[in-house]
Symmetry: C2
Subunit: 292 residues, 2 copies
């Protein structure tokens, strides 16, 4: 806190600690909520630093990748970093990677999630036809009724994803915004149109596997001259102010909506993170740490 | 033949017939060499057509894809089409898809093949570091000694492709020109550099499989923001004259070399096609049908 009112105050600080690197699905028992007592709210005498009070904690699927000791070219070892921006991810991934055109057929997986809900709305703003997949009927309704997707389906109720996609995209898919990987990716590749684009934001279905599923239909990359491209929000940081200029008017006018799933108390943080991987959250998962 | 000397002549015509769609590796017994007798070399009276005598037959891996009844967005059902251009394929795939820069690390699989040998030489012309893989020691020597690759290896002698690639590319791979797919692709993905590019020309290791191998390491597409892009020569036909302007001076000056594997007689066509998939050919496979 920067107002100086609690200068030199002594406080206790709650925190979530990972006991070790995580294997398979994360469990609440992988984490412990502990309390540091007698913390002095004081910066070093010669420091120009300020004290900051965290009010919210963001929970995102990518955090699972930081719970392993595998190296990654995007993230270092797990040290809380800046909170990432689902909006900037959706913006960079959809507009920069996909380069969408009016009338194109767009499919978004994990579409009710923090990024997916925005991608679908951006696609509608572009005049695209957009279908989303999600894991519950409630989420499917949210996509159609709140976020304006043209259609949506519950992938858990589709025994044949290839057949489902053929039903929703009889003309094929121009743009796939990939959040899940695995079987869905394999089915999507079969349904891409010539010169289609797959923007790979994440592959949440694979994060908890020691050995990722095999994807078998990659030969269609040649048949259909498909472009598959991974991206990371960090690459779009220089465009952040341009993104704000784009998104803020839409939010003010109510043309872009956003749903957050808020739980209260840091002690509920572990369950919130784990819920991401069972699909329990609806929209962006946020933990309120302290009242404002 | 267009010189009119054999106008209205009666000839016999040898041809290779596929008995049915092919499953698994093609066999000579899938084909039959037959002869049409008493063919009149005559165009219809009101036709502006000309008679053409075929002198050479081109054998290329993509032809395997046409021997099945699966649909393809590039090729129609198997009817002899125009002979494709490995040079234009190498040109379009390397320069247009990969957008190479001087000093980049380039890997080419099936590197002694019709397309691969040119890609490697184009990479050297760009000032890249280029390594190729092939399936015999003779081909490896050809790559290093004739085509000027910086290095080359026999993939059949590498029990661990990931380890082999780490040895040849300790700094990682910027550009992979993909001709084989399967296990090689899986290993390459692990060795790509951030923002690397994989240009997918073909996946010859998969053409004879009913169920393609699974590729497991696609999550690295996100970690490393990799672009994987399929392409087809047909997309570069409009650039054919530009390609000729580029390549002909290099060929005249001996700066680009080309090796063909020539067999004589249409009756040897079936064996020539099959040889592509066992790696028997060295360089572009051509069948001489008739003396000039």
């Amino acid at each position: 806190m920067a107002d100086g009112s609690e200068k030199n105050a002594v406080v206790s600080n709650k925190k979530v600690i990972f006991k070790d690197y995580v294997s398979g699905f994360p469990k609440e028992s992988d984490m412990a909520v502990t309390v540091d007592e007698n913390l002095k709210l004081k910066v070093a005498g010669d420091s120009k630093g300020i004290l900051v009070k965290n009010l919210y904690l963001s929970c995102d699927p990518y955090m699972r990748l930081l719970m392993t000791n595998r190296s990654s070219e995007i993230f270092g070892p797990y040290t809380p970093g800046a909170v990432r921006m689902p909006g900037l991810t959706a913006y960079g991934g959809f507009y920069e990677v996909c380069a969408p055109k009016k009338g194109e057929y767009v499919f978004v997986s994990a579409a009710s999630g923090a990024v997916g809900q925005l991608v679908g709305q951006f696609a509608k703003l572009m005049g695209c036809y957009v279908v989303g997949s999600a894991g519950t009927q409630d989420k499917v309704e949210l996509l159609k009724n709140k976020f304006g997707f043209d259609d949506a389906f519950n992938y858990k109720e589709e025994p044949d994803l290839n057949a489902a996609l053929k039903r929703y995209f009889p003309e094929g898919i121009d743009i796939y915004f990939e959040n899940v990987g695995g079987k869905m990716l394999d089915a999507v590749i079969l349904n891409m149109r010539v010169h289609g684009c797959i923007a790979v934001c994440g592959m949440i279905s694979q994060y908890n596997r020691d050995q990722p599923e095999g994807v078998h239909n990659l030969m269609s990359i040649v048949y259909k001259r498909i472009r598959i491209e991974g991206f990371a929000t960090v690459d779009y940081y220089p465009q952040y102010s341009k993104f704000l200029d784009f998104i803020l008017p839409y939010i003010r006018e109510g043309k872009v909506k956003y749903v957050e799933d808020i739980v209260e108390g840091l002690e509920n943080g572990p369950a919130a993170i784990i819920g991401l991987f069972s699909g329990r959250n609806v929209g962006k998962q946020v933990v309120v740490i302290a009242p404002q």
